[in-house]
């Protein structure tokens, strides 16, 4: 037995396969942290599933990179003056198997999404449509306001005006599936979808890689020959792959940001449509007292946390709507870092001895560091915080069943519209699973959000602005920040920009250096 067996094995393996790195293929190489659960629009609820679903399926409309709604299956649309009837005229398009995307096919796909038999958790995308909720609850399809008067027109009748309706139709869930395929494959549709998107699935190797190739009938035509999404759960591995030329794009973890900032080349950044906060259970004392909630907001130096723990990758949240989504000025600062004021407010609320509370978080090292610092800030005003860490499943259940008094959480936009922050998070109708996890209820905010849905332009903005101002003043949250996302691209990838909303990047505008059509 020779001692050099291990190096010999390594060497033999390398010789057997040739030592040089393989030539970079003419496809964009990307990574997912988790494998997409499905590509079925009706069941895609996580980031990677939604991404694949949107690349493979086209909706009536879609988001561009900047987050604006653009034509897709529909070439144009118009809405009646009362905002109730939306009429879409279809472009001549085909599914990836060559069959035409008719208005009947689109209606059939929407019917599948809404049907109680499908049990899609995303049926609410069509909730504004008249009769949709009733049909989902077991009512008849005839009363649903979706129809196809001719082969190239789809008409929606809404129950009430919904200014964000177009944005809903650009969500992954509203992607049009071939119901023939979906009916014949059942649950198997998730891996063998048939849509009219820019891409179609080439190879899907379980847990390893999802490869997309251009849909021969798709529109617009991409300039690159494919997209390869590798499943790489570890950030350090993704970095190593990027450094060795195995990936064309890398989301830079915040802890690694300094290194890439000094390296300089290819670093992109964009403020995410996401807000990070600590929510309070508003029905529990002492959080039912707004003075207490305001005191906690004064007690924490959020700017310092952003600078030190996020390495500057965030912007202080004054309010709840990300800057990119509002055309009104940010609310004026109400909660400057002022521990003395926090103590005074707590005294006024009858808590001069402070109190004890628990903040729940999901298992995550960065979140842990942030909450330890929050804990220290609150200790300075005599609020004794216990941190409770659970993995995602248990954490989510604790918030859902109300066992968490306060929780560190974030909210990602489903579509780039202020409504997507105000309504799910603060409308009393959405308490619980709808997104309003604190149980916030304010009649004035409810009616402003409802009114905003019926308006457009400056009037709508004024309503949203006022609703945001009231929420900010009521302080149902400890307002933290809007995160900034950093990505680096390989030198060969050109024309890429970070999309405003995750399904706004369809890879039709990128090219790879040295790779032609």
């Amino acid at each position: 037995m020779r001692p050099a067996v291990l190096p010999a094995l390594v060497l033999a393996a390398m010789l057997a396969a040739g030592c040089g790195g393989e030539d970079a293929p003419p496809v964009v190489r990307l990574a997912f942290e988790t494998e997409p659960a499905t590509s079925d629009p009706a069941f895609a609820v996580d980031f990677s599933s939604g991404t694949i679903a949107s690349l493979v399926h086209a909706g009536l409309v879609s988001f561009d990179e900047a987050g604006a709604v653009q034509p897709d299956l529909a070439s144009s649309w118009r809405v009646t003056g009362d905002g109730l009837e939306w009429r879409f005229t279809l472009a001549p398009r085909r599914f990836a198997d060559g069959s035409p995307v008719t208005s009947a096919a689109i209606v059939s796909s929407f019917r599948r999404l809404l049907s109680p038999e499908t049990q899609s958790p995303r049926w609410w995308v069509l909730e504004p449509v008249a009769g949709a909720a009733a049909f989902h609850g077991g009512g008849s399809w005839e009363s649903v306001g979706i129809e196809a008067p001719d082969d190239s027109t789809v008409v929606f009748q809404l129950a009430q005006p919904a200014a964000h309706f177009l944005s809903l139709l650009a969500m992954p869930a509203a992607g049009v599936v071939s119901t023939d395929r979906a009916d014949s494959l059942g649950a198997g549709y998730g891996r063998r979808p048939l849509g009219a998107g820019v891409w179609r699935i080439g190879t899907w190797r379980e847990g390893d890689v999802v490869e997309l190739e251009p849909n021969p009938c798709g529109w617009p035509r991409p300039a690159v020959r494919g997209l390869r999404f590798r499943i790489l759960p570890e950030a350090m591995t993704r970095i190593a792959e990027f450094e060795t030329g195995g990936l064309d794009l890398l989301e830079v973890p915040r802890a690694e940001l300094e290194m890439w900032r000094t390296a300089g080349a290819g670093l992109l950044s964009a403020e995410e449509l996401r807000v990070v906060y600590i929510g309070f259970r508003l029905d529990r004392p002492p959080f039912d007292d707004p003075r207490v909630r305001r005191a906690l907001n004064h007690a924490i130096d959020v700017e310092t946390i952003i600078a030190r723990l996020l390495f500057g990758a965030g912007r202080r949240a004054r309010g709840v709507v990300p800057a990119a989504l509002r055309d009104w000025p940010e609310p004026t600062e109400r909660y400057p870092y002022d521990p003395a004021r926090a103590v005074r407010l707590l005294e006024k609320a009858g808590l001069s001895d402070g109190f004890e509370m628990a903040i729940w978080q999901r298992d995550n090292p960065e979140g842990g560091r942030i909450l330890e610092s929050v804990q220290a800030y609150l200790a300075a005003v005599n609020v004794r915080v216990r941190l409770v860490t659970r993995e995602w499943g248990a954490f989510k259940e604790a918030i859902a069943n109300g066992s968490a008094d306060a929780f560190y959480l974030d909210w990602f936009a489903d579509y780039p519209d202020p409504e997507n922050f105000l309504s799910p998070l603060f409308h009393s109708r959405n308490r619980g699973g709808g997104g309003n996890r604190t149980g916030y209820a304010n009649a004035a905010v409810d009616s402003l959000i409802d009114l905003a849905a019926t308006l457009t332009g400056a009037e709508r903005s004024a309503c949203c602005r006022e609703a945001e101002r009231i929420v900010y003043e009521d302080a149902p949250w400890l307002f933290l920040w809007f995160p900034v996302r950093y990505e680096v691209v390989s030198p060969r990838l050109e024309g890429y920009r970070i999309p405003a909303i995750f399904n706004g990047q369809r890879w039709t505008g990128v090219t790879l250096e040295g790779v032609g059509e």
């Binding site: 037995m1 001692p3 390594v10 049990q119 609410w124 891996r191 759960p233 699973g433």
Partner: protein
């Protein structure tokens, strides 16, 4: 021998039934609701209720358990709540990769481990023995995660010899780093046990006899010393190989290796009951089968166990 094997095979059933039952019950004891994972971040109670009904989660625990056993008896592992794919199909797809990694790691551990153990037991160079044993202590203690990253940094980033991660469609180059990483702790243990076994056996009467009758030293080592020293090594190999077959979460995660370990961890995160139960059962099955094989191999290596059993 055949009768003994049959008895052992029969004993597997209660073990597996126990595993199934514990895995089933644990899922309902730990907090976390599977339908919350399916529903995403924005859902309504009505949909959740419908999902629970459809998945049968609203039925009494006993009914769920019995229907699960019924399905198992028909060889049906169920369908994942999250991906809606049959569990058996996914295991079939992922298991060969886990098997490849486990086999490679075990081969490296056995070959390198026994070699290091033999070398360090070599009396003529005592300092080498101490050095190798110190090295193996490091090997046992080194965290897999750190070792993996270190190897990636060295062999992929600095030396550009091997790919940093991935399955590469089964290419050997992709297998090297994860297999070495996974083998490390086992290799170190095998080295230590081999050394102890060799030193023990060298002092025994039968070795002295063998030497006295003029047998060549090489033959003494191979036929008498090593064969006796191998018995505990086989135990280690069996246990480690059996557990590798269930997937090695850390190694698989670091190297983006699409094996069973990550599949199970993801399923646990999402409370994907059918996947957890199916995968745990499969892991247990692998483990007991490997153990059975190890027990059989004792009979081949060590004549005494043969006599005791018969």
């Amino acid at each position: 021998m055949i009768a003994a094997l049959g008895r052992r095979l029969l004993q597997l059933f209660p073990v597996l039934l126990g595993v199934v039952t514990v895995a089933f019950l644990l899922m309902y004891v730990v907090p976390g609701d599977p339908v919350l994972a399916i529903a995403g971040e924005r859902y309504d109670e009505q949909t959740l209720e419908a999902m629970r009904r459809d998945l049968g989660l609203d039925r009494p625990l006993v009914v769920q358990y019995l229907s699960y056993l019924g399905r198992l008896a028909r060889g049906d592992l169920g369908v994942s709540y999250v991906t809606r794919r049959p569990v058996a199909e996914t295991i079939r797809e992922r298991f060969p990769r886990t098997l490849a990694l486990a086999a490679a790691a075990t081969a490296i551990a056995v070959i390198a481990g026994t070699a290091i153990g033999l070398l360090s037991a070599w009396k003529r160079v005592p300092w080498l023995g101490r050095l190798l044993m110190a090295g193996s202590l490091v090997g046992v203690s080194i965290p897999v995660f750190w070792l993996g990253l270190l190897l990636i940094h060295l062999f992929a980033i600095k030396l550009s010899l091997l790919p940093p991660s991935g399955y590469g469609g089964g290419s050997l180059r992709h297998l090297v780093l994860p297999a070495v990483t996974l083998s490390f702790a086992s290799m170190a243990t095998i080295a230590r046990v081999t050394r102890a076994g060799v030193m023990d056996a060298s002092l025994s009467d039968f070795v002295r006899t063998a030497r006295a009758k003029g047998l060549a030293e090489r033959l003494v080592m191979l036929k008498h010393v090593l064969r006796n020293a191998l018995v505990p090594v086989v135990t280690i190999v069996g246990t480690d190989f059996g557990s590798y077959l269930g997937g090695s979460v850390l190694t698989e995660s670091i190297f983006g290796w699409p094996g069973l370990g990550r599949y199970i961890v993801q399923a646990i995160m999402k409370r994907d009951f059918p996947v957890i139960q199916g995968a745990v059962l499969f892991m247990a099955l692998c483990f007991v089968v490997v153990n059975l094989l190890v027990d059989c191999s004792y009979r081949l290596i060590d004549p005494r166990t043969r006599e005791e059993a018969s």
